[in-house]
Amino acid sequence: MLIDVRILDKSEQLDLNSLVNTMLKLDEHCGAITLFIGLVKGLVEGDKKVYELEYTIVKNAALKIMEKIAREEAEKYKLSHVVIWHRIGSLKPGEVTIVIAVLAENRKSSFAAAEEILERVKSEVPIFKLEKRSDGEYWVIGSELRVKREK
């Protein structure tokens, strides 16, 4: 089982072609790759235009928790390869925020594992985002709440 967990600065390149090509050759017992790519949304809460999304992170804790999630999900779904890459810093709409890729025996375990990993990263890893948008700056708290920044 291979695990590839990274916190990436914006300056670091994301080579998704290379990632998929590597995974294609890893294990001939596997029948499915699921690749999830998260993007910065340009509009939120209806018509609020987002100019930038700024990610901050408790780095050491985040990396350890992401590794734990990857290991646990790999065991649960018998995955041959798990990739979790999360970018930090200031990102613009359309830019990649997170990449999750799994190599699994079949489509069911592949889809299920990728979705579960994503949900766990969102709820268990200490990462925080600040939306810089047309009506001000908002901290995103959990999956729903937004708190306008005091300035």
Partner: protein
């Protein structure tokens, strides 16, 4: 003991980069750290539940922290992805 609190996100705006708390005992319950912080800063009005991370673990309010110098993180619910 000395507890160094590193706030993140909405708590960093209110508390700054770092808060240093001194306690007479060599161990302290997380609940008491939160009480002390609430006595120093208006955290409740933010309307966000504070979470404490020690090392790489989220800990409960009953968790006991020991040592001469301990660094902890004060954070809101996570929003990665």
């Amino acid at each position: 003991m000395r507890v160094v609190v590193k706030p993140y996100s909405v708590f960093k705006d209110r508390l700054g980069d770092e808060v240093i708390l001194e306690f007479n005992e060599s161990k302290v319950v997380v609940k008491d750290i939160l009480l002390r912080l609430r006595s120093l800063y208006d955290i409740n009005s933010i309307g966000v539940k504070p979470i404490i991370i020690v090392g790489s673990s989220v800990v409960s309010e009953d968790y006991i922290i020991e040592g001469d110098l301990v660094e902890i993180y004060l954070v809101p619910p996570f929003s990665g992805g």
